[in-house]
Amino acid sequence: MAADPTSDSAAESPPPDPATVTRRLDGRIRVVWILRSVLIAALLAGLTVAIGRFVETPRWLPALVGGLTLALAVPYAIVRYRRWSYAIREDALYLDRGVITRVRTVVPLVRIQHVDSRRGPVERATGLASCVVYTAGSRGADVRIPGLTPEDADDVRETLKRLAIRADGEDAV
């Protein structure tokens, strides 16, 4: 969360907002992602065991499948966390993410239809929350910022709401 506020904004803009900085996700999101990959690895290993009951397969195959999945998924989760960042500026919400395909999304605040902050069961268990931003765009619905602390999620939601009201699009479509 270390980042300095943007000090030199345009002349007519209000005093620097603590929100207009580049932010990282909370580190605990790695735990969530790693746990998820562990679950997937376990599922795949279980599936291999099940297949092994009908087809002749080497005994070490389930372990190999699970291990391979983990070996790929754990670094992926870590890199994914390192690549994720977002920023709320006075004009738009910026997201930068993606390991294999790097995706940068610009969501102009005028276009925001509504904002949710969410806490799923896993997120509640790890003390995290996420924030989902909806636009009218055909692909806008998946603008989701995971791995926020609950306070941060509420904060992001409130900031976006405030800025979106100020940006005020007459007809968001």
Binding site: T22, T101, R102, S138, A167
Partner: protein, 584 residues
Amino acid sequence: MKLSPLSIPYRALQKASTVLVALFFLGTSGTVDGVVTIGIGVLVAAAALAYETAYYRRFEYECTLDTFDIASGVISRRDREIPYGRIQNVDVSRNVLQRLLGIAAVDLETAGGSSTEGAIRYVAASRATDLQREIRRRKATRADERSAAQEADRRASDLDSADGSKPPVPTEDPETELFTLSPAELALVGALSFDPRLIGLLAFVGSGSVPVLSGFLPSTTAFVVTITGVIALGLLLVASWMVGAAVAITNYYGFRLTRTGDDLRYERGLFKRYSGSIPTDKVQSLTITDNPAKRLAGYATLTIETAGYAPGQGGTYGSQAAVPLARRDRVRELAREIEAFDDPDFRRPPARVRVRYAIRYVAIVVALTAIAFGADRFVAATIPWYVTAALVPVAVIAAHYKWVHRGYWLGENHLLTRVGFWKRKTRVVPYYRIQTLIDARTVFQRRWRIATVVADTAGSSGFIGRDAAALDVDAADADRLRADLSDRLRTALAERRGRGSSNATPTDVTADPERPPVENETGTPDVDRSAGDGEFRWVTDETQSAADAYSSETGSNADVDPDADADRHSDADPDADGNSDDER
């Protein structure tokens, strides 16, 4: 107002038809006693009729001053009010049976939602047209009132220019014809239509029957197999073409596009008649499509997209509002009638990308050859597998045209993108319609230092191919394009909102403030402090090298920057600092 009383039997028949047909087959097959089936049938029909009578009694719609109200529902009731300003399209459709009964289905579409928001099933045909006109009129009146009020405000604040002109009185605008499909063009639409679904169906059926058939044909030579295959394929293609032609002709029979005030209205269909109105201020994007055959004959297709249609709802033929075929200049004229854009001068992806396309296409050819070779080796029949290798020149030509046709152009008020080596699509998106901007770079794209910038609109469907995308633009270009588009969106929105209330948004995009170079020796994340210019380039220690790799491109690629946007881009020149090409 109520539905047409004829809608009761029609809807009941619609609801009960599947059950009745099933009962009919059960009855005739003799598994169930005839009397019992007739009894059940009568019961089902009676229940359907009763339900539909209740539906009819409950269903009410009304044009109020501000909203279109629909009260409906038998078991769970629903009252819905749709503000006129939010209605995107009003569509009327009538199939053969409905035409015989003189009824029509009216659909009011608003943006968002997964289904039609206002479905009126069914009213008298004349009533449907009246409704279409009435909604259009009410909407225009509302808009006029609003602008009149704004006008009054402005005049109150600016007493000097009190010239006493009255606000415009809403009048019924005359209907002007924009386009009619001539019989010759209809024939051409048919001739150029090809329905690949038949091939798919036959392939599905055929895949099961081949082993069966091969049992009947014990001794064949490869020659006979090949000849039979070629003939069968030819027949299949002809059949597909005929099916496609028939579908296209029935779809577009009697196509007319007219304009009334700010609304476009279309009519089409031989058996099932469609007509719809599209407010021009709700148009999200335009698409001009052509393929080599159409290009050669000088024709193109125009598609008008609004936010009203949910994905997959536009019928089997995509968007309902499309000019199926017209001379190219006519299409351009029509498109300009809706969105006034200038002559585009497309900026192509960097020339090096051609090599990438060629590699990909040649790889496909090689894979095909390998498959043919494998078939030759392991299947009894001898196939001239090396023939596919002849496709290599084709692949190279295709790659070239893929590159030639790809590009984007930033106009005064519109983003134009073009894509497709065979079926070429040119998309026109007004800046103020852009919803989000997405810049995606796959591993392969990063290797070639290119990126794809997608301008997402609230268009009809979420397919990747449907959004306006500047594909494979230079990475540094992509950074600029993203920033530029987001600036232009804000400017366009501010302009649309009127100059009076837009001091919160910067209006001058060309005044690009000097961006301070990003210094980053320390390990702390550093914010690029140029939030004002909308540039999305904050840098952390780990993205630094990647950012350098992106920006290093501009130096070597300044020569592929010939268009008028060069001056705009020149002051947004990325940091020309030391680069590390570790991306490659």
